[in-house]
């Protein structure tokens, strides 16, 4: 049997029942990586020795019966989360040799639960992008067709899960960066409510939008990962002190009495007919599972990309000021004045997309333009949030596509940043409003590329959202499918 193909909950039983050891499982996943990685290119840093050591420790705990909820489960981690002693590059030359002296809180929690960290996976540089092509170390490929993008920015996370190069992964989502690659790679990806998961040790891109979340093989695993990583953290003053429910428990109830809103503005011009058909089929399944379907309106949806491409670069330009060649990261050795160190280190360390966003953000925040851009965008952000408030008074969750199209070919849109920005139109609003959203596989295109269905809910309503996602998954019964040609 191929252990690497299994889910956390399947492996949990096998590990607890001593049918398989954590070392055997980790070896199996490492062999899988060896077999497919030259085609998928999901990993930036792989740590087989460290993983096997942790697997041995997990086996000891399993023998004593003291193992946590993820004891012995091999995971990949997006290379934007700090891992103590393990290189964390953010997909950037400027952090190529950065080895954090501490763990992000979400990593501490995974380790406490007994997880085995395999290594760090690929991403767009500083999480800026929707294709993972902005990675300084080369782009990961879509396991369903290696000439296609795997989405981004958590592309390596989604690709490594879809290719069975890990059992599950941790990613981050600032404008769709978990949900969009999950959709393109046919896996489950959840962006939790802003404040649900600590951002401490997550290298900041846009601090008011960033959130850590899981990418998994099914909804049950997603709930199990959420149980492990959620909760308040004194080290992140924006994390919220709200009780963490048992997300796993919430799954199995039916959908009787649940109202599912279909936002009319999410079925836009430019929506690929194959995507629309698959998503409509998914909505029908939710209805068959007992949910009531109602049409709703989010009238400011069309403005979300414009708001995002002011707010996110503005925050990024300020967050990325820290890369100055002084305390960590690349320092240009030829410079002998402080100003030259700053300029030369930043100019040679950052890639084009990062520079572009720093320029947009600096421009939008510069003297004379602040009111016209940043303030205006923040006001429209309020209108977008109010849209959701109104809609969630009338329904429990929203169902829609995740992205307007399936994955496109590598390099196809590399010279057209605006068209790539516009492809984020269905995921960005959730970040602006701080609400949770999930992508669940709901079908395939004629070319065999996965299609995801997005479910969004109100703040801290992850239980309701996961229950809807679980019911959908049970009805469609496609989450277990894997690319067979890889």
């Amino acid at each position: 049997m191929s252990l690497h193909r299994l889910t956390i909950h399947e492996l949990r039983e096998m590990l607890d029942g001593r049918q398989v050891s954590a070392v055997e499982l980790t070896r199996d996943v490492l062999q899988r990586i060896e077999k497919v990685e030259d085609r998928v290119k999901a990993y930036i840093t792989l740590d087989p020795e460290g993983a096997l050591k942790r697997a041995e420790a997990a086996d000891t705990e399993l023998k004593m019966g003291t193992g946590g909820s993820l004891c012995g489960i091999p995971l990949s981690i997006k290379d934007v989360l700090c891992t103590d002693g393990m290189r964390t590059t953010c997909g950037s030359r400027i952090l190529e040799n950065f080895v954090p002296p501490y763990d992000a809180t979400s990593i501490v929690k995974l380790k406490e639960a007994g997880a085995v960290l395999l290594g760090k996976v690929s991403m767009d540089e500083f999480a800026m992008g929707s294709t993972s092509e902005n990675c300084a170390f080369g782009p990961p490929r879509n396991p369903w067709g290696t000439e296609y993008i795997c989405g981004g920015s958590s592309g390596g996370s989604a690709a490594s899960v879809a290719a069975d190069e890990c059992i599950a992964s941790l990613g981050t989502d600032t404008g769709g960066s978990i949900r969009q690659p999950a959709s393109h790679c046919g896996v489950v990806g959840l962006k939790p409510t802003y404040g649900r998961v600590s951002r401490y040790g997550l290298v900041a891109f846009a601090s008011s939008l960033d959130q850590v979340g899981p990418l998994t093989k099914d909804v049950t695993d997603c709930a199990l990962m959420m149980n492990a990583i959620s909760g308040h953290d004194a080290k992140d003053s924006t994390s919220v002190a709200q009780k963490v429910p048992d997300y796993h428990k919430a799954l199995t109830e039916g959908l009787q009495g649940m109202k599912v809103g279909i936002p009319r503005e999410y079925f836009i011009k430019g929506l690929d007919p194959e995507v629309e058909t698959a998503v409509r089929q998914g909505i029908k399944s939710l209805s068959e599972a007992g949910a009531e379907i109602v049409e709703v309106s989010l009238p400011h949806t069309d403005y979300c990309v414009a708001v995002y491409y002011i707010v996110a670069p503005a925050e990024a330009s300020s967050n990325l000021a820290r890369y100055d060649g002084i305390r960590y990261g690349l320092r240009d050795k030829s410079s002998d004045s402080l100003l030259d160190i700053y300029k030369n280190s930043r100019s040679s360390g950052f890639g084009d997309e990062v520079k572009r966003r720093i320029i947009i953000g600096t421009y939008a925040l510069s003297s004379g333009y602040y009111d016209a851009y940043y303030k205006k965008a923040s006001q429209v952000r309020t209108l977008i949030t109010e849209d959701f408030k109104k809609v969630f008074a009338a329904c429990d969750v929203l169902a829609s596509p995740v992205t307007p199209t399936t994955a496109w070919k590598l390099a196809e849109k590399i010279d057209d940043p605006l068209s790539v920005y516009l492809s984020d139109i269905l995921t960005i609003s959730a970040n602006l409003a701080g609400i949770p959203g999930i992508s669940v596989p709901c079908g395939f295109s004629g070319a065999g590329l996965p299609i995801g269905l997005q479910i969004q809910a109100s703040h801290f309503q992850e239980e309701t959202l996961l229950r809807a996602a679980y019911n959908l998954e049970q009805r469609l019964n496609i989450s277990h499918l894997r690319p067979e040609n890889l």
Binding site: Y303, L338, I341, K343, I359, Q379
Partner: protein, 94 residues
């Protein structure tokens, strides 16, 4: 809206980035595209709308001003491109 290469050079200076003339000109065109698109926000009257700076309404998160464990100095310095065991070293500025 027309962004000039001069404006890009000024903003690049503020952001502490070097850009070649070629990069500046390409960036001027791209930024112009993006800002033209962003101008659609002006279709909305937001005169009376409070700006959102934070998606979740939480107030300041205060804590007691107590000593807590933190990174030891040698660990905090370990990634410094140039350091002397006590501090990060930079070129003379005065």
């Amino acid at each position: 809206m027309k962004i000039t290469p001069q404006e890009i050079s000024h903003v690049a200076e503020l952001a502490r980035l070097h850009m070649s003339q070629e990069e500046v000109e390409a960036m001027a065109l791209q930024l112009d595209d993006i800002l033209t698109y962003v101008a659609k926000l002006n279709e909305l009257d937001t005169e009376a709308v409070t700006p959102t700076t934070h998606a979740i309404s939480i107030t300041n998160a205060f804590r007691e001003d107590d000593m807590k464990p933190s990174l030891p100095r040698e660990k905090a310095l370990v990634n410094g491109p140039k350091q002397n065991g006590e501090a990060f070293v930079v070129p003379r500025v005065i």
